[in-house]
Amino acid sequence: MVGKEILKELAEYAISASKADQTEVILASDDSNTTRYANNKIHQNISQNTVSVLVRSIILGEKGGKIGIASGNVSTKEGMAKVVKNSNEIAKNQKADPHFVSLNEKKDLKEADSFDQAAADLTVKDKALMVKEILDLAKKEKVNASGIFETVIGEVAIANSKGVFGYHPFSSVTFTSIIHTKTSSGFASKLNWKLERVDIKKIAKMAIQKAKQSQNPIQIEPGRYDVILEEEAVGDLLGYLAYMALGGKHFQEGQSFVAGNLGEKLLSEKVTIWDDPFHPEGMPTPFDLEGHPKTAIPLVERGVVKNVVYDTYFGKKYDQKSTGHYVGSLGLGPIPLNMILMPGKSSVPKMIKNTKKGILVTRFHYTNVHHYKKLNMTGMTKDGTFLIEDGKIKAPIKNLRFTQSVVDALLNIEEIGKDLKLVDSIGTHLVPALKIKDFSFTSVTEH
């Protein structure tokens, strides 16, 4: 960690060195370690110590703002000066953007607690010993374990020539467990900023149980089925909803299914989604990457899409207020990165009991979007897929490919789980399990 005072000093230096009319600096540093295991041993172990700086310079004129962006991985004044110079030079030779009005203005910024000292104090030896316990368990159970135990200890500082300054330290702990038997695999994972919330033994046991339950899968015919999606699968689909549909850029440019339909009921009335950057079970984040304060914002309420998100540039372009969703790139546009799909009252066991014939999905693999407006997607099931009949799990099944519109899926929700899981999927979102009727599986694979 470089520390708040040094980052502030570097940011102020960069702004003072800039010859542009407006300048913004994003500084970040992190110490990360990925302890990776496969075949019941730690086979890759990677520690990275990086810093990054992104400078946006703007030269204002009658035709708009000429924006130059330069980035690097420097932590000295000399290095900063070079990045600033590059950024200024690009701005000078750029075309003016008539939509650029101004960088973010100074506002009061809250703090958010998402830094865990216990995570920061964990050594590589500590982690290896913790993973060893899992590997010993896997060997005892005669299964093959793979996964990661990753810790990221980081900080971000944002400053601009309009007086904005924000600093936020954070931690992130991820444990994944993928267990293979001769005929099956199972998956479980946990992500949080607090180490004590990541019980790696519990996660490994869940994955082992899933793998054992999935052994000797049978093949079923693809078709339309009622489906129970566990949280990881729901998170996968929701991440695409965030990026392709609920950002102001895609909305205004007509590429979102919400375009022309804001304020209308487009999803099931069971669906309520907020973007809540301060939720205690999420990854609390106080401001966006231009130092605009974040607040909780309702995106969908009882199926009605009420809001999409904006940053300063797209807010001014489309006469909207920034909602604090600048992600560091005008190309990507503003994106809600901390969504919560409000939980219901059900649970996965209850959903199974309520299902005459359906499929239980642990997670998806390699999902992708075919039609951006309809959010037609495809992907495979993976790591624990089961046939349900008459309220019980009948058999594990070979993995299926789905081809399904996410919008249609969210119109066909029958039940929503009461428990939330934090899932990393184009943002970090809190999602429940869902039971959805009439979900389309279009082909099957050999395992």
Partner: protein, 481 residues
């Protein structure tokens, strides 16, 4: 740089390691996007740092830092050894590396014009001209032109005495037209989707791309697709254009032949492979029309270099010979497991990542057919071009691809266009159905600069030389539209 590398190697050598390598890297990336007449992204990124990899007690450790000073290197060296010692707490079989030559050499991508020496205003002017030509087509909604240039300058040294300096230069770009009407959105890209075509080489790659010559056509096709009929459903004869076939080769051949995947080392993320070691030498991957090579020496490929990131020389390996599976991509750690030597495919995404087995240029060898003759020979089929999306299972068997556009083939002629074309199959059945590959007149090397693998995630730039090819009885038109 040599002195710093030697300093790192000396430090770790005193700590009981059996092998170490050090990479100092400087990367520069210029990223330009012109969208709807606005220069939406005009960015230069520079990165400089060092990665130290050690083998101690039979286990790997790796530490990378941006601090390329003696003090920074000392800290990273100590950390790398500590990481290896931690890993060794769980080891069973020690890591064994094959023997390698000591190499002292330099390599630089041949270029005619350094892309970083061309002024920004000249690049933006070229891009603006093309964007204007697309924009002139009635009905088009968004028009984008992309340009990218990469320079990757690395210094490699190891405890076996090798010292290699390499400078890899890449350049490319493309254009994209999006048309939106009501609930329909269609797009066309040229020469390829997802920012375009990239190769190793200089600015001449972008200059010779024929963007202007194709701008109007691309924009017109994106508009025409709005009212085109939906791709039909059923089992059809399918001909794939080179820019789509490149990704097909990538996903269904390039990845399953990565030996680290086969050995289970990627099971936690990218998956495993159906090409298990028992199949090597006695498995029919495709028809006898299908021969595939891995070639890091071919000029212009994104996977072309002098040495991989373990110091193994670039080389050519036959992977599939007339349908028979005979080769993997391997590294110094993975090759000995099957009694072989590394064939030079250990590549790292920059100084801050470890080298892992990656594609180089995975090429489908050309066949005998002229493209026009292939169409004329097809009574009833579909010709698809330009990838829109892709998905494949974790063993690389069940795949589904969507393209931007398709044409009906009826009685040997290209006919009407279809929108939202996609197709699905199982890898060996698909390649087994290949009955024709176009000849070298239609063969070119395509760049895939966005191949993801590894944890932490890495992005590799790889190449695929292909010519259009024909496949029989493929499931087309998947899903409800």
């Amino acid at each position: 740089m040599k002195e710093l590398i030697e300093h790192a190697l000396n430090l770790v050598s005193k700590k009981g390691i059996t092998y170490a390598d050090v990479r100092i890297g400087q990367r520069t990336f210029e990223d330009l996007t012109l969208k709807n007449q606005i220069a939406e992204t005009v960015k230069i990124d520079e990165s400089f740092g060092v990665g130290i990899r050690v083998l101690k007690d039979g286990s790997w450790g790796f530490a990378a830092t941006h601090d390329v000073t003696k003090a920074g290197i000392e800290k990273a060296a100590t950390q790398a050894v500590a990481v290896a010692e931690a890993s060794a707490l769980t080891k069973d079989e020690p890591v064994f590396l094959d023997k390698a030559q000591k190499i002292i050499d330099t390599y630089r991508t041949p270029t005619k014009k350094d892309p970083f020496s061309v002024s920004l205003s000249e690049k933006l002017k070229m891009m603006a001209k093309v964007e204007k030509e697309m924009r002139g087509v009635k009905g088009v909604t968004h028009t984008t032109v992309d340009f990218g240039a990469y320079k990757n300058h690395t210094f490699f040294g190891n405890t076996e005495g090798s010292f290699i300096e390499q400078e890899i230069i890449e350049c490319g770009g493309g254009m994209n037209a999006v048309s939106i009407k009501g609930d329909e959105i269609q797009m066309r890209s040229f020469p390829n989707s997802f920012r375009g075509q990239f190769k190793t080489g200089g600015f001449e790659i972008f200059e010779n791309m024929k963007l202007s010559e194709n701008a109007q056509r691309i924009a017109e096709e994106s508009v025409a697709l709005l009212s085109a009929p939906q791709c039909p459903v059923g089992k059809k004869t399918l001909i794939l254009d080179g820019n789509q076939l490149a990704l097909q080769v990538h996903e269904s051949c390039g990845h399953p032949i990565e030996l680290d995947r086969v050995l289970g080392m990627e099971a936690s993320y990218a998956g495993t492979s159906f090409l298990t070691t028992d199949k090597l030498g006695n498995y029919q991957y495709g028809s006898d029309k299908v021969s595939i090579v891995a070639d890091a020496t071919i000029p212009g490929g994104l996977g072309t270099f002098g040495y991989d990131d373990e110091g193994t020389p670039a080389q050519r390996t036959q992977i599939i010979k007339e349908g028979n599976f005979i080769g993997y991509l391997s590294s110094r750690e993975t090759a000995p497991v099957i009694g072989q030597k590394s064939n030079g495919t250990a590549r790292a995404d920059g100084w801050s990542n470890i080298p892992i087995v990656r594609m180089t240029n995975i090429n489908l060898e050309p066949g005998d057919w002229d493209f026009d003759d292939l169409i004329a020979d097809t009574k009833d089929g579909i010709f698809m071009s330009t990838n829109h999306e892709w998905s494949i299972d974790d063993r690389r068997l069940n795949f589904q691809f969507g393209c931007e556009i398709a044409w009906e083939i009826k009685n040997g002629k290209l006919g009407k266009i279809f929108k939202n074309p996609n197709y699905q199959d199982i890898t060996p059945r698909f390649w087994g159905s290949c009955d024709a590959v176009c000849n070298k007149d239609h063969w070119q090397i395509w760049g895939t600069p966005n191949c993801g693998k590894g944890e932490p995630g890495q992005v590799a730039h790889v190449g695929h030389g292909v010519a259009p090819a024909r496949f029989r009885d493929v499931e087309i038109g998947v899903g409800k539209w």
